[in-house]
């Protein structure tokens, strides 16, 4: 996370830039000195959603990831409200534990990243000896020539050549005209045709990430207006989408 000035239309705001939803959550936990092992989920969801509004406003490329986390938080919140079923002897798992583990794991790497930043800072002050360009011709083999070539270079080079020389193969990436209302309409057509549709089935055919994110937003919109219902049997299992009470 870093402090940065963002210009938004006609006013400037000082807003911490978050690397992702986990970064934002860690910030919220630290800000209010919350216990990471006993996160007050209602409060944090509320704070999170407030930030989410700003993030959406800023139209960051990673906004979709923030939206996904909002859904996770709301799901955890819902689970916390459910009565814990009487388990035989064993303790029921805390609905928050998965998230806590993710946060702790992420935090470790965030710390490592800080260490890297320090090293980078020190190292940037020293300059390596740069020998002058070749003073003689030497016999070399394949490995020597490839020593400085990465697979990435080969990929990029080919990609570049295709774009520039091979007319029939290069295809312009058309601007995707896609909106939540269109994607919502598409979803309703699907639900008119069958009782239920599966989330992964819909997503599979969408292609670009942009379309996937927009469709996901459309789904959230339709759930909110109670036109559709989304259900899940287990964590990470597929989501079933059905017509809601206001479907029409």
């Amino acid at each position: 996370m870093s402090e940065s000035k963002l210009l938004n239309r006609n006013y400037t705001v000082d807003l911490p830039i978050f690397e992702g939803p986990l970064d934002l959550l860690l910030f919220l936990i630290k800000k209010d000195e919350l216990n990471i092992y006993d996160i007050p989920i209602s409060k944090i969801t509320q704070d999170y959603l407030a930030y989410l509004e700003i993030i959406k406003e800023l139209r960051l490329s990673t906004a979709g990831d923030f939206v996904l986390m909002a859904a996770t938080l709301m799901k955890i919140k819902a689970r916390m409200l459910l009565p814990v079923p009487e388990a035989e002897g064993e303790e029921a798992e805390d609905p928050r534990s998965e998230l806590v583990n993710m946060l702790l794991e992420y935090k470790r790497f965030k710390e490592a990243a800080d260490h890297f930043a320090d090293r980078e800072h020190t190292q940037n002050r020293m300059y390596y000896r740069v020998p002058s360009t070749s003073e003689g011709e030497f016999e070399v083999g394949a490995e020597d020539l490839l020593a400085d070539v990465k697979l990435y270079d080969i990929m990029l080079t080919f990609q570049y050549l295709l774009q520039n020389y091979e007319e029939p193969l290069s295809h312009e990436v058309a601007m995707e005209a896609v909106s939540t209302s269109e994607q919502g309409a598409y979803l309703k057509i699907l639900l008119n045709q069958s009782e239920e549709v599966w989330f992964t089935e819909i997503m599979k055919d969408l292609g670009s990430r942009l379309v996937i994110i927009v469709t996901f937003l459309a789904i959230l919109e339709l759930i909110r207006s109670r036109e559709i219902i989304m259900e899940q049997n287990d964590l990470f299992s597929d989501l079933r989408i059905r017509r809601g009470e206001r479907f029409g």
């Binding site: 092992y37 986390m69 992420y106 790497f109 980078e120 940037n124 000896r129 990435y152």
Partner: protein, 183 residues
């Protein structure tokens, strides 16, 4: 070949080498095994550079030795490079790199699972700056591309080997921190 000659030759190698002078590269320059170990020679040269207050020193990096300018001359040396100013890595790139470093070889999906956010752009930056490279594919069903750190990575961060890096903190320690910060 006497010792002083051996030291001189090694100095020439240090001046001419475009990458760290490792034991292997050093050995390759001689027909028979030299009378002094590379370490011994380096120590002797280092002592001389220190004594005579040279503007450079020998740096142990990427499992070898390389000459670097001393830190205090940075304000002057950096002006040689005005056009390609040393761009520091973004926070996203550092996080992504940290994950790759400790978990390599690793796929993009696994990185994103830890970061909780899509990581195309930092991966691209790291590839372009040659700090990571593509290395093979996952055995799993997705056959995802795997990434790992490069020798350039070691040089960039002034590391002799990956073992030089501190261990990732255990989850247990992090929890203790949390407890302490609760007051």
């Amino acid at each position: 070949m006497d010792k002083s000659e051996l030291i001189q030759i090694t100095e020439a190698l240090l001046i001419a080498t475009p990458e760290p002078l490792t034991e292997a590269r050093f050995a390759q320059c001689f027909d028979s095994t030299p009378d002094m170990s590379l370490n011994e020679i380096i120590e002797s040269l280092s002592a001389f550079y220190k004594e005579t207050d040279r503007a450079f020193q020998i740096f142990k990096v990427a499992n070898g030795y390389q000459l670097v300018t001393r830190k205090e001359f940075e304000p002057f040396v950096k002006r040689l490079y005005t056009r390609s100013a040393r761009l520091r890595l973004s926070q996203a790139a550092l996080e992504t790199l940290a994950i790759i470093t400790y978990r390599q070889p690793i796929s993009r999906v696994e990185i994103e699972a830890i970061r909780g956010v899509s990581s195309d752009s930092p991966l691209r930056t790291l590839l372009e700056r040659r700090l990571i490279e593509i290395r093979g594919r996952d055995e799993g069903p997705g056959r995802a591309l795997l990434y790992r750190t490069t020798t350039e990575f070691l040089q960039y961060f002034g590391l002799n080997s990956l073992q030089d890096l501190p261990k990732l903190r255990e989850a247990q320690e992090l929890i203790q921190d949390e407890d302490e910060s609760l007051v």
